[in-house]
């Protein structure tokens, strides 16, 4: 990874964003690929449904969920990665987004304001709740803040479960109509298209993900993004330089919550239900946190990779390994000790411990954070 970074730097120095002419054509392509891996990735993902028919089936839904978790993790990354505030209740905001979306669109309620308006509103509501929680609590020291977010996550989950008249209790709210229900384009009902073909949701969530990634990149280098990092590195020094730490942290909290809310409303729309409140519990929060940490705090490619690894583990690797064990007849008695998925928690746990011990900056580190972590290490 280090090597990649060095060579892209060399390319940058040689001629701004364009590539040096002296490099042979073959390596020019590799250089370009290294520099603009994101465009390649987007192109691959955008073209994938044309070549992989399975994306029109259940696989399409799974990949959509993966994209949505990526958005959620990018939201969490604002707080944990950029600003260095431990957030243990991100799933609560994910849930708020999903439930606001549902309340504004399900037939049970009189609103039914359509997907776009509902998505904007649920993002705003999540941001507002984030502000309301953050304003009084952000002056707390790091560990206390972690506990407040954890406690808030539990409060939201319990509330969602118990306010049956409003949230449908354990059944959740459904059916959440697909985006564009009732909108006719060229004689085709858009909502019906969404409901029938998972590829519509695939493209929608991919589009939102790309939008969020672009927004995050712009934010990283903005005045606000640099203020986040400054507060993370040293809050006192940052305040001495005239940064209002409270306001900067509050904006990170709001941004995190808003992106999580956006992910939540996509989630509810793509499943056409909010699912039961347990989908928004501490486990979800902690798994997203693990993904961000594993991939690399404060690093956008790292966050995306971390989510892909974790989701891939659950939906691809574990079922595959389990069926392999079954085929090889290793486990005739059906003991959980010999099933791969029985070891899921232990594998995650060991991975977390090892990453923190040997590579605290994650798999695809943000260079700045890696330097910070390593420096404090010695």
């Amino acid at each position: 990874m280090q090597k990649n970074v060095a060579s892209t730097d060399a390319a940058r120095k040689a001629g701004g964003d364009s590539l040096p002419d002296a490099v042979p054509f073959g390596s020019q392509i590799t250089l370009w690929l290294r520099e603009r891996w994101d465009i390649v990735a987007i192109a691959c993902l955008a073209l994938a449904p044309l070549f992989i028919p399975a994306l029109g089936g259940a696989l399409g839904g799974q990949v959509t969920t993966l994209f949505i978790y990526c958005i959620l993790a990018l939201g969490l990354n604002v707080m944990v990665g950029y600003t260095g505030l431990v957030h243990l209740g991100i799933a609560a905001f994910f849930g708020i987004g999903a439930y606001v979306m549902a309340i504004l669109t399900v037939p049970m309620y009189p609103f039914q304001i359509g997907f776009l308006a509902a998505a904007i509103l649920s993002t705003l509501v999540a941001a507002g709740v984030g502000l309301a929680l953050g304003a009084p609590t952000l002056r707390l020291r790091g560990d206390y803040l972690a506990i407040v977010t954890l406690g808030f996550g539990e409060v939201v989950k319990v509330t969602l479960r118990n306010l049956e008249q409003i949230t449908g209790g354990m059944k959740g709210l459904n059916p959440v109509p697909p985006p564009g229900a009732g909108v006719q384009i060229g004689g085709i009902d858009l909502g019906l298209a969404f409901a029938i073909d998972p590829r519509w949701f695939y493209y929608l969530s991919l589009g939102v993900l790309i939008g969020v990634v672009i927004a995050m990149r712009r934010l990283e280098n903005s005045r606000l993004g640099r203020a986040w990092v400054a507060v993370r590195e040293n809050e006192l020094a940052a305040s001495a330089m005239g940064i209002s730490a409270t306001r900067v942290k509050l904006s990170a909290f709001a941004m995190s919550s808003a992106v999580a809310g956006l992910a939540g409303c996509l989630y509810a729309a793509s499943l056409s239900t909010t699912a039961d409140p347990n989908a928004y519990d501490f486990n979800r929060s902690i798994m997203v946190l693990c993904a961000v940490i594993l991939g690399g705090l404060g690093s956008i490619p790292g966050t995306l990779l971390g989510v892909t690894i974790l989701v891939g583990f659950d939906t691809v690797l574990a079922p595959w390994a389990d069926s392999w064990i079954q085929q090889m007849n290793i486990n005739p008695t059906g003991s959980s000790l010999l099933s791969f998925s029985g070891w899921r928690l232990a594998i995650f746990g060991v991975a977390l411990v090892l990453v923190m011990r040997f590579r605290p900056e994650g798999l695809v580190p943000s260079r700045r954070l890696a330097a910070e972590l390593r420096q404090e290490h010695s």
């Binding site: 020291r141 406690g151 705090l297 977390l352 290490h377």
Partner: protein, 305 residues
């Protein structure tokens, strides 16, 4: 909803609170000395409860006479205490110790990892379903007049928790080790300079916290009568809340916080409804932290440069 009902709920709350306090001590001691929220503590106690369950079966305590039962419970507490204490020290040695100088996030995330590993061990040990823990003590009301219920198992909680707490506060206040612990918690570098073996003191703290947790796990089994591999999270959360409420790092604070949380839980279950209990406890936690971030009995600390 009579006065008597209210008093009964208070009694239940205080007994529960004593149990929570015992767990909270494990959190607060570790936090006080190395500033780590030991997320794995609740799951450590879950493992203690698994050991207790296995030992009850192995020793055949369910069918024993009263004298043997009390002796057996004493033995269980010591064995589970030693088990949890040793395990806690081992985790500190292999997981947290190498991260002593790392940023705070590293040990915190490692602790979450350890808690996952413990949960998986518990899953293999007792299975995914909740297991019932045998009633070893007769359910006879000890209070005259039968207006209030106070059974043998309630008495057991008091009988175990009170001496452990008195012992702990003596240990911290009077002994050489206690003095060393207080010194390390104030300033590890200065403590090392005056010849205190900081690592040993930290290990001792982990052992004591783990031992108290092990004792709590036995009482938990006998008092609540149901254990499961996921019990660590919920109970750990309540205990941690208690520690923060009382002022994390403060030993009397943890005890006080535990009793308060126990009372709040019991009264909330009785008057608002069991299913809201969790939300009420955490809402109170958030409110208290907003107005008194250092906790009820904690000291205000200023940020160090």
């Amino acid at each position: 909803m009579s006065v008597q009902f209210f008093l009964q709920q208070c009694l239940i709350g205080l007994t529960n609170g004593a149990l929570i306090a015992l767990v909270a001590l494990g959190y607060t001691m570790v936090y006080g000395i190395i500033g780590l929220i030991n997320f794995a503590h609740g799951d450590l106690i879950m493992l203690g409860a698994c050991l207790a369950l296995s030992l009850v079966a192995a020793l055949g305590l369910a069918a024993a006479g009263p004298a043997t039962t009390w002796l057996g419970i004493g033995l269980l507490i010591v064995l589970c205490g030693l088990f949890c204490g040793t395990l806690n020290v081992a985790v500190d040695r292999f997981v947290y110790k190498p991260l002593r100088n790392a940023p705070k996030l590293a040990p915190l995330v490692s602790a979450i990892g350890v808690s996952f590993i413990f949960m998986n061990v518990g899953l293999f040990w007792i299975g995914s379903a909740d297991r019932s823990f045998p009633e070893l003590l007769p359910s006879i009301n000890l209070l005259p007049g039968n207006s209030l219920q106070f059974n043998w198992k309630d008495l057991l909680v008091v009988l175990v928790v009170a001496p452990l707490m008195v012992g702990l506060s003596l240990l911290v206040r009077v002994t050489r080790l206690g003095k060393a612990m207080r010194a390390v918690s104030q300033d590890p570098t200065a403590a090392a300079l005056v010849g205190i073996d900081v690592d040993q003191v930290i290990a001792a703290t982990f052992f004591i916290g783990g031992f108290l947790g092990g004792a709590a796990s036995v009482i938990y089994g006998l008092y609540i009568n149901t254990i499961g591999f996921q019990m660590g999270f919920q109970n750990g959360l309540y205990a941690f809340t208690a520690a923060v409420l009382g002022g994390i790092g403060s030993i009397p604070g943890a005890v006080f916080g535990g009793l308060v949380i126990g009372l709040v839980r019991a009264l909330a279950s009785a008057y608002v409804g069991e299913r809201w209990t969790g939300a009420i406890v955490f809402a109170i936690l958030i409110v208290i932290l907003v107005f008194r971030p250092e906790g009820l009995l904690g000291r205000r600390t200023s940020e160090k440069v």
